[in-house]
């Protein structure tokens, strides 16, 4: 460890990887979801560390704020929720370990392989404005298509999760008392 940046990196990396291990191993799925929150936050911190400020903000906004809420509700919606103590059982330990180790090997090899060109001089500068500029000029089309995509998703979500007849509540679902 040479500087404060390295200390911060290792703290954040430990947070990310440590909570990811909890996500995978905790038997209670609600606890696993909360651990996922810390993983997401750790990743956001790592983004800040490599000066990707926009990514970090998006990570917090979308993943911590949105996706995690969605995951929580998906958990609440599942009907196995009553046996919550063992809702996230661990299966296939050995094959999973083999796959993970292989993936780790491939990624580690790739990360240190010469396929990526390392820049000698790194200048950190805010990226948001640059991203905004590209979004509004070169990537204008994908930007506008994204709104069409979001519209389609919105219609689909509203269509699929709305009860058919609003006056008759479905019998199998109840509001929490």
């Amino acid at each position: 460890m040479t500087g404060p940046a390295d200390v911060i990196f290792y703290v954040l990396a430990a947070l990310t990887v440590g909570s990811a291990i909890f996500v995978a191993t905790l038997p209670n799925i609600i606890y696993a979801a909360v651990a996922l929150l810390f993983t997401f936050c750790g990743v956001a911190g790592l983004y800040v560390l490599v000066s990707a400020d926009f990514l970090a903000a998006t990570q917090v906004l979308v993943y911590v704020g949105g996706i995690l809420v969605l995951i929580m509700f998906a958990v609440f919606l599942s009907n196995r929720i009553s046996s919550v103590k063992l809702s996230n059982p661990v299966h296939f330990r050995l094959p999973a370990a083999a796959i993970c180790l292989t993936l780790f090997g491939v990624l580690a090899y790739t990360a240190i392989s010469p396929a990526f060109v390392l820049k000698q001089e790194i200048t950190y500068q805010p990226t948001t404005a640059r991203i905004g500029e590209l979004l509004m000029t070169r990537y204008l089309l994908p930007f506008e298509v994204a709104s069409v995509l979001l519209l389609a998703a919105l219609i689909g979500a509203a269509l699929l999760s709305r009860p058919d007849r609003p006056d008759i509540p479905r019998p199998d679902m109840e509001e929490p008392k």
């Binding site: 000029t137 204008l140 089309l141 994908p142 994204a146 069409v148 995509l149 389609a152 219609i155 689909g156």
Partner: protein
């Protein structure tokens, strides 16, 4: 920072290059809002407005012609190929709307969302077919997929519909992930996502040999293979096709396949000719596997929708045969076949839709018994579409297969052509089995009473039949357009 200057002329060209897409999206939004404003009895207006929009979009494709218009700093291009696929996709969309006039009323899909989602999906397909940047292709793919996931599960009270939607959604999400990861890896190696720029990058042997690039290309192919349902990435197809409302199945089989193949053809012919020495082995294997597994599975199906689903897998294999060589001849044959396939397959689904009284149980093959003589028009139409799918002259299906396999022979892939012809022969068995049921099997109880088609529905069937027959007899001009379209890619 200096104010960002916008080139007005470039912007105008950009907008011009996506006029058909803009019209489709605008129609989708208009139909969605119209649905909120009008009463329940006037819902047929939605379909009419949608058809009008498709008509205007088709006209704008015609007006733009086959000239090359690049837009949005190389994100999208309107060229011969784009125009060709715009026509295929818009035709499939129009046929879907025409068929929906009857189907929606008896199956309760007569909702504004149905038409808007089909149109939004169509716009995504067109973006995908015209995208010259992997980002546009990916966004197009997502815009086409998400409405389709919803449409497959449109019948929320039918278990099979929900099951199909869930399977399609989960596997489709994985496929999108593969595709995106592939794009990311390719970007990591080459620093670009533009398809034409990628082609020039491949002159560098270091990039070609880079394992990251190979992995990226592989993942990209896997993503496309999921969408066009190549074996072994076809698992979702029978369930999704069986569960979806039949109009949606017809739309999926024709339009989604065309759009995904359009992007695949663009990537293969423009970006990856440098990889041809490696790639053809992969494509060869995929084509053989897809044709064989699709046809063999179709042999034992008793549900007409599942049978046509496996037949559509087999057809993806035939179309891939044209892409193995990566030359103009094969590409032209694939384009022609995609057009023909859209019409004959949608026609077949249309007739089957009328004969089947209800979703699920109505699609048993025994339900076809005795239809042939009692309802001669329907029997004749279905027979025509089926022999075209089987590749028997004088139908367009025969011409398409002839060009596909002869392109393979001319490029030296003799065995591929032999396997293709054998498969095609095997497929005739199950297509004719349906015809036999219609004409030669006496029904156990009574002959099923088909639904009387609406005028627009009959128009859709007749139009498909006309295309299948006319292109079977005089395919020359369309083949030439297909050739020009492929050539426009390589300019």
């Amino acid at each position: 920072m200096a104010p960002i200057s916008i080139d007005a002329a470039a912007l105008l060209t950009s907008v011009q290059s996506i006029v058909p897409e803009i019209i489709v999206v605008a129609t989708a939004i208009f139909v969605l809002l119209l649905d909120l404003a009008i009463s329940e009895e006037k819902k047929h207006l939605l379909c009419g407005m949608g058809l009008l929009g498709i008509g205007v979009a088709l006209f704008s494709v015609y007006a733009l012609g086959q000239g090359r218009i690049e837009g949005f700093s190389g994100m999208i291009v309107h060229d011969g190929m784009g125009a060709f696929f715009d026509v295929v996709i818009l035709s499939a969309c129009a046929l879907t709307f025409l068929m929906a006039t009857g189907y929606s009323e008896w199956e309760g899909t007569h909702k504004g969302e149905f038409y808007s989602l089909i149109l939004l999906s169509t716009s995504g397909m067109m973006f995908m077919a015209k995208g010259t940047d992997l980002m546009t292709v990916f966004l197009g793919l997502e815009t086409l997929s998400i409405p389709i996931y919803v449409l497959v599960g449109f019948h929320r009270n039918r278990m099979s519909s929900l099951e199909g939607a869930l399977k399609y959604f989960l596997l489709g999400a994985f496929a999108s992930g593969f595709l995106l990861y592939g794009i990311a890896l390719i970007y990591a190696v080459t620093g670009t996502t533009k398809i034409p720029v990628l082609a020039t990058m491949l002159y560098d042997p270091r990039i070609l040999a880079s394992p990251l690039f190979l992995a990226g290309t592989g993942l990209l192919l896997v993503g496309f293979a999921f969408k066009v349902s190549l074996v072994p990435f076809h698992m979702w197809t029978p369930d999704a096709y069986e569960g979806a409302p039949t109009v949606v199945t017809a739309f999926m089989s024709a339009a989604v396949k065309a759009a995904a193949f359009a992007a695949l053809i663009r990537v293969l012919l423009v970006a990856l000719p440098g990889m041809q020495p490696v790639l053809w082995k992969v494509l060869w294997g995929l084509a053989v596997l897809t044709m064989t597994v699709g046809n063999l599975s179709a042999l034992v199906q008793n549900n007409v929708k599942r049978l046509l689903a496996y037949s559509s897998i087999a057809h993806a294999g035939y179309i891939l045969v044209g892409l193995v060589s990566g030359d103009v001849l094969g590409g032209q044959a694939s384009l022609f076949y995609l057009l023909v396939y859209a019409f004959m397959n949608m026609g077949a689904f249309g007739v089957v839709m009328l004969i089947a009284q209800k979703e699920d149980e109505g699609y048993d093959i025994a339900n076809l018994a005795g239809i042939g003589f009692k309802y001669p028009a329907l029997g004749a139409l279905l027979t025509l579409f089926l022999i075209s799918l089987g590749g028997i002259p004088p139908t367009a299906g025969f011409v398409g297969k002839f060009y596909l396999f002869s392109a393979a022979v001319k490029n030296g892939y003799i065995w591929l052509a032999v396997i293709g012809v054998l498969n095609s022969a095997a497929s005739i068995y199950y297509y004719l089995r349906m015809v036999v049921y219609m004409y030669m099997v006496t029904p156990d109880v009574e002959v099923a009473v088909p639904r009387p088609p609406r005028i627009l529905f009959s128009m859709a069937l007749c139009a498909s039949a006309v295309v299948v027959v006319v292109l079977g007899i005089i395919p020359r001009s369309v083949l030439e357009i297909a050739e020009r379209s492929v050539l426009s890619l390589l300019m």
